[in-house]
Subunit: 213 residues, 2 copies
DNA sequence: ACCACCATCGGGGACACCCCTGGTCTTCGA
DNA sequence: TCGAAGACCAGGGGTGTCCCCGATGGTGGT
């Protein structure tokens, strides 16, 4: 197997040196970078197969590097390499487009394996972290935050809201709930006022962001 | 380590027997099920740690089992075990709440390991499949499938469509694109006709399902 | 008894949305 | 050179959406 090309991004020179030593001859380190600007430049000029990316990085964080190089390094995969195992770090980085996320407790051998797998198109996670992504994906995260706004609605208002958010017209909602259009309008007025929205379109977006459909 | 409890769900008795033989004494198979109804009953009465779940199952599919047992088997994890490596199967099952997805090409030893990891709270994937989930999560999937409908729109129609789907009114779109409201209406008429939709609300849902916002 | 809140319903109005018919101008390829 | 297609614009009409005003009951707390 030919050696994979890698760009190494971390704000601590000592850590970069450590990774480089651990990787040894298994991969070819094209360049190193210590902040977002350097990283973006290095990735675009080097076109590496894999970028080893620190999540907490001066200048916007690792996710910013992924966003700024989007489309400018077509075949480059990003592998997050972080001390953090916080869910928001993991999810944020994956959302940005990283193909893997491993913690710095990883051994050199495992890291080489992870790099090879990411380069091959697979996704690599420290086992415990994959669960975060799945939780977020299945929509079980943030469920708690809804109620602050949502529980100020009455039961009837919630019914109307749900149908409207799904795209039903007032008339259809009226037919569905066996009430008059005028009552639907009244409820919708309350819903929009309580949720501080101004149109059914905003309501649709509000509901879809909270996965209430 | 104590043996994990498992319910085995697959519509082929032959395959269930095979899995049972492969697992041997490593896990305790509480029950088997051949369709959705049997599976739901077995999971609720057995309260297993892990359910080995076939994706294509008479009565609604594996995802239906997960939905119907939601909340009734608190500590039970679901591990999909399928011949299919199609992205829609993987994503659909994970969305329903499965904590892992492996193909039936797996060896018995690997399957035991996967069961143990899922029981411990980790997520397990056949390497190639994890990418599907990440793609869907990052919103990069289906980008190819869109164009069949989307590329029938002209450039201007796409601009109008994007703004409308975001909740802009016709007037706001007109102001944004420096054209008259009447022109926006004309473009929207074309968009709705070409996409076979009938209202801006359906367009909003259409676009959000494809993550074009 | 009174008040607050909820669900229900109505009139009327301003505007948005969707469809229809028409038209001009440009670009592009047969 | 002539049509096809796209971007642009207009009028009119029917319906939907959102808001204002009002009203009637029921329920629950003080």
């Amino acid at each position: 197997m030919s050696r994979h090309t890698v760009v190494l991004v971390d704000d601590h020179a000592m850590f970069r040196a450590g990774v480089r030593a651990e990787l040894g001859d298994a991969v070819e380190v094209l360049a190193e970078a210590a902040d977002v600007d350097q990283a973006v430049a290095a990735v675009i000029s080097g076109q590496p197969e894999v970028v080893l990316l620190d999540v907490h990085l001066p200048g916007g964080g690792g996710a910013e590097v992924i966003r700024r190089t989007a489309g400018k390094a077509a075949d480059t995969k990003f592998l997050a390499l972080s001390v953090s195992d916080a869910a928001e770090d993991v999810i944020g980085t994956i959302r940005a487009g990283a193909r893997g996320y491993v913690t710095k407790t990883i051994t050199g051998e495992e890291l080489v394996d992870a790099i090879e797998r990411v380069a091959a198109g697979d996704a690599v996670f420290s086992p415990r972290l994959a669960g975060f992504v799945l939780d977020a994906f299945a929509g079980t995260i943030e469920v708690a935050a809804i109620d602050e706004d949502l529980d100020r609605l009455t039961e009837r208002e919630r019914e109307v809201m749900r149908l409207i958010a799904r795209g039903y017209s007032y008339k259809e909602v009226a037919g569905e709930l066996f009430i008059s259009i005028k009552t639907v309008e009244t409820h919708m007025g309350s819903v929009l006022r309580k949720l501080q929205l101004s149109s059914r379109h905003e309501l649709t977006r509000w509901a879809s962001e909270r996965r209430l459909l």
